[in-house]
Structures are given as C-alpha cells and as structure tokens.
Symmetry: C2
Subunit: 407 residues, 2 copies
C-alpha cells in the first residue's frame, strides 16, 4: 500500500506554476529558459530521491531508480503551449514523481520502483512528439536539424545549444526494464465535470484523420460578373462545409468529433470572387469503423459537390492515424484504484486529444488517467482543476501504480 | 459629322501596350516609371493637337483645347492593376483623344472641342479615386501625405517625388467650361459578348454596400470538446454564408451581385475550434430599393443566426454608396450613335464596376459607354477586346460626342 502526500503534490505543482507564470497559467515553450528551469528542478527532485537523473540531448528528463526489481515508467511533459495552463503536462509529471516517492517510502513496495520521465515538446512547438519518439528510437537527427519553433522561428539546434544540450546523447528506453507506461493528464474536455466524476480511465486515444479539401473556381470581378456565370470557390466551400455539418451528426459515433479549423480564400479580397479555396478538415474517433464510415460519407459529399458543380472539389488525405488502445490490465488497475478513492465517480472514456502515451503504447503496455478540467478549458491560461480533484487523482494514480508493481 | 481613324486608334492602344508590357497585357502601377512614360506620351499627343497639356501634382494628365465654344470633358485612366489588361483605362483615354482629334478635324465641328483627361490611380493602388477626386476638389493634401502603395508599401509622396511632380499644383475642373463628361471602358463582364452586342450604354454605376460580419464562439481543443457543447465560430459563418446563398436569389434584382471575398477563422489552426470568425460581404446593385431589400434580408438572417445560436453574430456596415445615375441626354446620344454604327446590337445596362465617372457625375452631366470584353475577363493580363469591336466603339463614342457638342 502506498500513501501520497497531498501537500507535496500541490506544492510541487504550485512551484512549477511559478516558473514562467502567465496570468493564472504558464508560458513555458519547449527549450525556453523557463522550460529548462523546470526540467533542472525536476532532475534535482529525482536526485533527492536517489535516482540517476539525466536531461538528454533533446531535453527529455529521465529519472531511473538505482535498485533492481519490477519497474514502471511514468510521466508526461513539462513544456506548455504558448500562454497556456499550469497543469497540462505538469500534472502527469508530478503524479509520476509522487508515485515514485510513495513507492520508495512504502515498506511493502521495496524492490519495486517507478522510473520518471518528462518528455520534451509534446506540445509540438518544434514537431510531433519529438521527445517521446526520441525515447523509443523513432526520431532521426535530421528531423532535429531542420526543426524550427513554429511561433518564434528559432531552429531547434539553436535552442538546444542555448540550453547547454548540444552534443548530449539522446537516451532510449532500456529494453526489458519496464512493465508498463503510465501517464496522467487533465481531461481537456468537460465530460467528467458535467457528469460529476473524479476520474476518467482512458480506453483508447482517438485516431486523427486529416484532410485538405481544395475548391477550384474562376477568379473574377465581384461587380461585373453575373451571379449566373460565377464559379465562386468560396461559395463551393461553405456549401460543402454545411453539407458535412448537416449529415455527419446522423452517422457519427457518440464521441466522434470533426473540425474545420482553417479556411483560405484566394485571393481573399473584398471585391474579387475567390478563384480558389481550401479547408483543413479533421476527424477524430477511437473506432476505426466509425472513422471509415465518416470518411466514406466525406468522399460521397465531395463527389456530390463535384457532380453539382460549378467548382472542382478535390479531397486529399493529409494523414490517417490509428487509435491507440490502452492496456486492459492497466485500465482495470486504474478502475480498482478509482473505486477505492472516488467510489462510483469514475468512468472509462476515450481520449480525444493526443498524448505521448500513444507513442509509448507499441513499446510498453500503456495506460492513462484523466482528472476533471474546470469548464473543459484547455490550451488557455485559465485552464484549471480543483486542488481536491488533483489530490484524488494522485491517490488513484499511485494506488494503481502500486497494484501494477505488485502483479 | 466626325470621322475617326481606326488605324490611329489601334496604333495608339498598341503603343500604350508597349509601355510596361506583361504577357499580352501591361503592368503599369500608378506613378511607376511606365505609368509616367504613358502619361508623358499622352501629353505629347495632346500638344500635337495644339492643346495645353499638363501633368499635375497628382499625375492627372489634363489636355485643354485652346479655342472657345462648347466643350466636353472626356477620358479615363492610364495606370493598370498589377499585371493586368491593356485596355482597362487606356481604351477610354484613347477614345477621348481620338474624339478630340476627330472633332478638331471635322469642318462642321469648328468652335467646339473635346478636352481630354487621364486620371491618376483609378485602380486604387494608393487610395480611392484619388485622381478624379483631386480634379473635382474633394481630395485633401493630408490624404496624399499618408497614402502608401498597397502592394509595394512605397509612400505616394515618394513616388510623386520620383515622378518629378513634387511641388506641382493640382488642377481642378474649370467652372462652367464643360457641357458633359464622357468615359468609355471595357465591360469587364460577359453580357455584351454573350448577347452578341457591340455597345453597352451605361444607365447607372451600381452602388457597393459593404459589411463585416463577425462570429464570436468559444475557442477550444478540437479533440476533447464534444460536438454538443461546441461554439464553433467557423461553423456559424459557413451556415450564415449558405443561408445567404439560399435566400438571396429569391429576392435579388436581375443584376444584383453579392460576394464573400474574404473569410478569416481565428486562430486558424487545424486542431483548434475557431473561437472567432469574420467575413467581408459585399452587395452591388443600381437600384437603391433592391439594396435596401437585400440588406433587410441580411439583417433578418443575422438575427435568425443569433436566435438559433450558439455563436454571437454581429453585422457591421463598412460603407454604403449611392448608385450614380448617368445623364439621360448622354444615354440618348450614345444610343443614337450605336444604332448608326452597330444597328440593333446595343443595350442599356448598369455598370457593376466602379469608375471615375461616378466621381464626376455630381459635377457634370456624365455618361459611359462599354465595349465587349472577350470571355468577360477583367483585372488579368489576358483581358481583351477584338480590334473590330474597339473600332466600332470609337465610332459610337466620337459620334455621340459630336452630337452632344452640337446640342
């Protein structure tokens, strides 16, 4: 049995919030001085615990327990989105650190340990899951060479140099060392809060299918071109967008989501009929069959738009991921722990957001735990979770870790 | 009776096409070396005719006949849109020049004359109708001081200085000198061509009513936010855009046009639900009652969108112009001349595009003549009109000018 220290968990999270504070959240982009300060702070806490702690060549912080025996790997990320919340990433790291400490302190857990990791750049300032992909051996140096901060334009190599990490090797997951990988995270949605629940046990991380839809019409003068002869690419775009909005709810799964986040009209001038338009359209679901069904309908709606004219519509697949199913035994361990610490107030649910856990899943049995997000707010500095819910989550997390270590 | 010289008309237009040639069109932005070369060439041609020719402090070229008697003012502009057509502007200037020459050469037209003007910047590189507004006394120096080339960012003062026009006074329309203002232009649409017509007699230059419609939703994560609770500003925008497309054809006038040329989603990222969206919506019609009817429907559709939610929609009027009705006696003169030179192949029609004529109209009885545009192409270097149609148009124009001078 393990016992966490609520004051220590909250104290650590408050301390991280003091590094790069922005309003009630933080601004701690990957490899910024604030991000590196947080990583060094974590490495020091791991060393306090007697761990061998390393900040490797991509800024992953890896804390390995010195002893032998059954071990878990646990963690999340420390950098934030720009001007974002204090718990996104940090919560999962501190839960892992607290579980490591609770296991180390528990007399009946001797001979087991929780290794701790804080991945770099889960938030994608420089690329896609570069830290976790590096740790599982799926990141080439060439990708680091060309990576540039999407907001600030600084090359990743320049930032790594500034962080004192040039020439440092990149650590990879030690073969056979870990029985499982655990990650905790705020939900980033309102499902738990709306249903008065304290814990979400992730069944699967949804797949993202991303499309670019292009509309080719004829650019012309917005005053002299009669309506009857126009080939307005913008009108074609809004028509397809509304056809999707009308049809998808009829065939979607209960938790399917779809989003048009980006629309471009060319040339984008008030007095010129758009000759070309483009929309980025994204589907997410945990069920491959649901994604297939929605994609088939999208293909049909695009064909229908082409059939009725007057613009040419092209559907291009940008990427199609696979849902990452979480390990059954870890879901069970989380559920059992949740029933102990929040009886009747937990649920199994998919994760609509992406996480490092999906990169780890092919390499280790992997599980995720969600805690409630107030108002479902995410990627904004006002993101928050009550102290009480944070502590309950830490208890569930550490208990499940102990169960998995005892298996 | 006046007789034009077809070779002279076409020769002059071909010469102007050789100044700033781009593909089969021209690139002759306002105050560029090419624009100034064209203006000096025109001033020389006017001097050949014995006119007093001036390039004034905003680059308007003004050619005044030395004699007394009844006079018309006639012209258009010489600069082009970027990489655009050879006739947009130039045609109206050369028609005016040829009418001036034909009147000067006609024994029975002695004691009358056509003054010629080539306005600066009708194409709006630096502002809105700065040349014609200067000529009618409606342009302050302050507006020139702050004007900047929209494409190149160069201040207008810098360009005027480079053109040798710094310190030159700006000419204004001499009170009581002119009986009317005439402008010819390519149609920029396909109405004449589609109906096998040779001349369009402009009844009115349409008014442009411009709106900005803003949609306020809630920005959130595109993976974790359930469809049921989203307030997606982009979805609200495409819904209203399609409601307009569905409803407007039922209540529009026969030549009403409406255009959404610009759409912005914020923040415009693939994985973020747009929290804010904006569209620029433009209406054009020659009938104030039709514009009112369409605007009332727009207000109703916006109210309906607000009523059904979930986003807040705000309609803001950016500008509301007034249709510029062309003088009845000039329409009659163009129609009579068209019946002579292209019997049965002319029509009265509104102008969907804006022209310097709308700036002149409050100051002089004003009329406009259109010639066919091949394929209705405008503001593109492939814009064109057949030589035959150019010559027919010049005959109609000069005949009408003669009629108006004899009145």
């Amino acid at each position: 049995m393990v016992t966490i220290d609520p004051e220590r968990v909250l104290g650590d999270l408050y301390h991280l919030r003091s590094i790069g504070t922005y309003e009630t959240g933080v601004h701690r982009p990957t490899l910024s001085p604030e991000d590196m300060q947080a990583r060094h702070w974590l490495a020091d806490r791991l060393r306090d615990l007697g761990y061998e702690a390393t900040i490797d060549g991509i800024a992953n912080v890896v804390g390995l327990s010195p002893g032998g025996g059954r071990k878990l790997l646990a963690g999340s990320h420390l950098e934030s989105q720009n001007h974002a919340g204090w718990l996104d990433g940090a919560l999962g790291v501190i839960y892992a650190l607290e579980a490591a400490r609770a296991v180390a302190e528990a007399p009946d857990m001797q001979g087991t340990a929780v290794d701790v990791i804080a991945f770099a750049d889960e938030e994608g300032h420089f690329g896609s899951f570069m830290g976790s992909r590096s740790y599982v051996g799926e990141l080439d140096d060439g990708e680091i060479d060309t990576a540039v901060d999407a907001t600030r334009g600084t090359p990743m190599r320049t930032m790594l140099d500034g962080a004192g990490l040039s020439g440092h090797g990149r650590l990879e997951i030690p073969a056979g060392r870990h029985a499982a990988f655990l990650e905790a995270h705020i939900e980033q949605g309102d499902w738990l809060e709306t249903n008065h629940l304290k814990a979400g046990i992730v069944t699967s991380i949804v797949a993202i299918w991303l499309y670019k839809i292009t509309f080719e019409g004829v650019q012309n003068h917005a005053g002299t071109t009669r309506m009857a002869i126009r080939k307005d690419a913008g009108v074609a775009l809004t028509r397809l967008a509304q056809a999707i909005e009308a049809r998808f709810p009829e065939i979607a799964g209960p938790r399917s989501v779809w989003t048009t986040g980006r629309i471009t009209l060319e040339p984008g001038a008030t007095s010129i009929i758009p000759g070309r338009a483009e929309m980025h359209f994204q589907l997410r679901d945990a069920e491959p069959e649901t994604l297939e069904r929605l994609e088939n309908e999208l293909v049909r709606l695009v064909a229908e738009a082409n059939g009725s004219g007057p613009c040419d519509v092209t559907l291009e697949t940008v990427s199609k991921g696979t849902p990452a199913v979480m390990a059954a035994e870890i879901q069970d361990a989380f559920e059992q722990a949740a029933e102990t610490h929040a009886p009747g107030r937990h649920t199994r649910m998919p994760s609509g957001a992406s996480h490092d856990a999906q990169v780890m899943r092919p390499h280790l049995p992997t599980g995720m735990l969600f805690v409630p997000s107030i108002g479902g707010v995410s990627h904004h500095w006002s993101e928050n979770t009550s102290d009480e819910d944070i502590v309950t989550g830490a208890r569930i997390y550490a208990s499940a870790a102990a169960t998995l270590l005892k298996t």
